[in-house]
Amino acid sequence: MQELINRAKELLADGTVARVLGYKAGDLPYNPEPAYFESAEELKDFVYNGFCGANLSKYMIEASKLEGKTMVFLKPCDTYSFNQLLKEHRVDRDKAYIVGVGCKGKLDIEKVKKQGIKGIQSIKGADITDDAQILTIQTIYGEKTCSYGDAMLERCHVCKGKEHRIFDEQIGESKETKDAERFAEVERIEAMSPEEKFAYFRSELSKCIRCNACRNACPACSCRKCVFDSNKFDSSQKANVDSFEEKMFHIIRAFHVAGRCTDCGECSRVCPQGIPLHLFNRKFIKDIDELYGEYQAGADTDSTAPLTDYTFEDAEPSIVGKRG
Amino acid sequence: MGSEKKQAEMMKEISGVNPLKCMKCGKCSATCPSYNEMDIKPHQFVSYVINEDIESLVNSKSLWKCLSCFACVERCPRDVKPGKLIDAARQMVVRQKGQDYLLADEIPELLDPELPQQLLVSAFRRYRR
């Protein structure tokens, strides 16, 4: 962490950047929040640890409008999102000074809590420089431990790789965290009967409160104004009035980001109801890979996106029924 | 539905042939190796079905002269398949009890030492139920 702060101070001091986009501590030991720092003084509040899971790429849309460069800390997976935004002309490469930060997996406090660890006061072993495999957690009920791996976000278990796709400099080491198949969960659902699928998604989606957290966190869902907030489709709505609307919302949301979603997993991370929203996006990614050739959004800035591309031999929509 | 009509419908059903597709070009008759032995000629089959005169068709000599060689089926430009119609007529005959064209009694005198099983089997299939 200190290395990041030192580097930030240097770049602020020599005028390379006008501000630093990083994290400051939140009100709890596990909820650091994104923040701007404009001076060495302000950087005393800077934190960076395993709980800094938020994808800062999306903040660069606004930062690109500001005067001067913004120094931003991006994990390997965040750089895919940055690339995708760059491709869509939403961020300005010249306005960003990208520090690619090493990653050994990001933590999910819900996973810790699920292990019965409550009343958390402080957590050790979550700093990026720590080599610790174990989190030591001070709670009001005494000290508890939890393995780092067990506390990791789902997305880190299916990590796309620890290589930064775009950066100005890199700080910190990464550690491979992938130990699960990316599409295993999608395949599990695909194998269900229609009734089971329907029951599964109905039960998951009935939890949706339309708080729009998924939309707000998603770097691909970055429209100036969402169709669900405009009158362009007579679809403007504030709250769900029936069971259909959340389905509509989530399907359309997934469709709008299809071929653009980098599978960063922010939607699921921020959902207060714990809905595995990434399963929608990942279904589209799987379909695209299978039908139109493997495609990773954000891997580069010049490939043709699958939904703006075609071949004469493309599968017919009837393939959906034939695949069984 | 009259019985003639019913029989004609059955013919179409069994054969899967739509006789209305025929444009009466005569290519089937031009092709048929058994043409001279037939009383009702291949190109006429469709008319009998359209006119619902199945009676004449099932009583015709042609039924037992067709070789099922599919030359007419192959060359028909209208995808009518007269050979299938004939076979359907044959089916209608042999499906009626006692209407077999080949009787068990007559077999021994038809045999000779070289005659392959295949011939008997095929003939049975085509001529008997």
Partner: protein
């Protein structure tokens, strides 16, 4: 190369040599023909009535047996090939027949036309390749002028059998060339010999066979080859063996130098 093999009734009786020459030649070519167990006669003719089921079941059994082994099904006799290939097509594409046949058969897993049906000639052309075959010939049949007699069953209906061009086939001619002999092309090679009609209408069949023979002879053929025991019988019977007619496998065995081996087997 392992295949399921369906010999058919006549190859175990009057056409033992068609079978023996084929098996011995297959061995020489490194083709493993595994005879399927408890096969039943195919019926000899394909039941044209679109509502026929019972007469198709023996073919379905053979096809299913090959599917169980994960092998293609190889046929030798033109008639068996015709019947089995067409029944297979029904099982693949005609829902009504598929459903009814499967209901009747009560197979552990329904059969839906998965098996590939190959005539032995197709194996030679598409799996071995005539160029390869040519390399394996030890006893080229040089100087022989041979007419291919296709008959009707292998070629038609061409869309279903997809064996060769129904009006101008080349597979047996290419086969003859591979064996080192010279094919004689004559227009009657795809005309019917009369087939089963020879049982009751000997005169008709005779006329047809005469036309075939005359045409082949006229174009200079010294012998005819065929894949069908019934064609062979009709051609021999009706024309008093004007030209010798033999099975294609006999020439194959001869060219591969294994003819005697096969003949011993037939004797035994």
């Amino acid at each position: 190369m392992k295949y399921s093999y369906y010999p058919g009734c006549t190859l175990r009786t009057k056409a033992k040599n068609l079978d023996a020459y084929a098996r011995v030649s297959a061995n020489a070519l490194g083709i493993d023909l595994e005879e399927i167990e408890d096969w039943q006669c195919c019926g000899g003719v394909y039941p044209l009535g679109s509502d026929e089921i019972a007469t198709k079941l023996s073919s379905v059994r053979a096809l299913h047996a090959a599917k169980e082994k994960g092998q293609s099904l190889v046929t030798m006799c033109s008639a068996c090939h015709h019947v089995i290939k067409r029944v297979n097509d029904d099982m693949k594409n005609v829902e009504d027949i598929r459903t009814r046949a499967n209901n009747y058969m009560e197979l552990p897993e329904p059969y839906a036309g998965e098996t590939e049906v190959l005539h032995f000639l197709e194996v030679l052309r598409d799996k071995i390749g005539f160029d390869e075959l040519k390399k394996k010939v030890v006893n080229p049949l040089a100087g022989k002028k041979i007419g291919a007699y296709y008959g009707c069953l292998l070629l038609r209906p061409s869309k279903l059998l997809s064996f060769d061009d129904p009006e101008n086939p080349t597979i047996i001619e290419d086969f003859i060339r591979a064996l080192g002999a010279e094919p004689v092309i004559y227009p009657y090679r795809n005309e019917c010999c009369g087939g089963y009609i020879s049982l009751k209408e000997k005169e008709m069949s005779k006329n047809m066979c005469e036309k075939i023979m005359e045409s082949a002879e006229g174009f200079g053929a010294g012998m005819l080859i065929t894949a069908c025991p019934l064609c062979l019988y009709n051609l021999n019977k009706s024309t008093g063996a004007r030209l010798p007619v033999v099975y294609f496998t006999e020439l194959l065995a001869e060219a591969l130098g294994v003819k005697e081996e096969a003949e011993k087997e037939v004797q035994a």
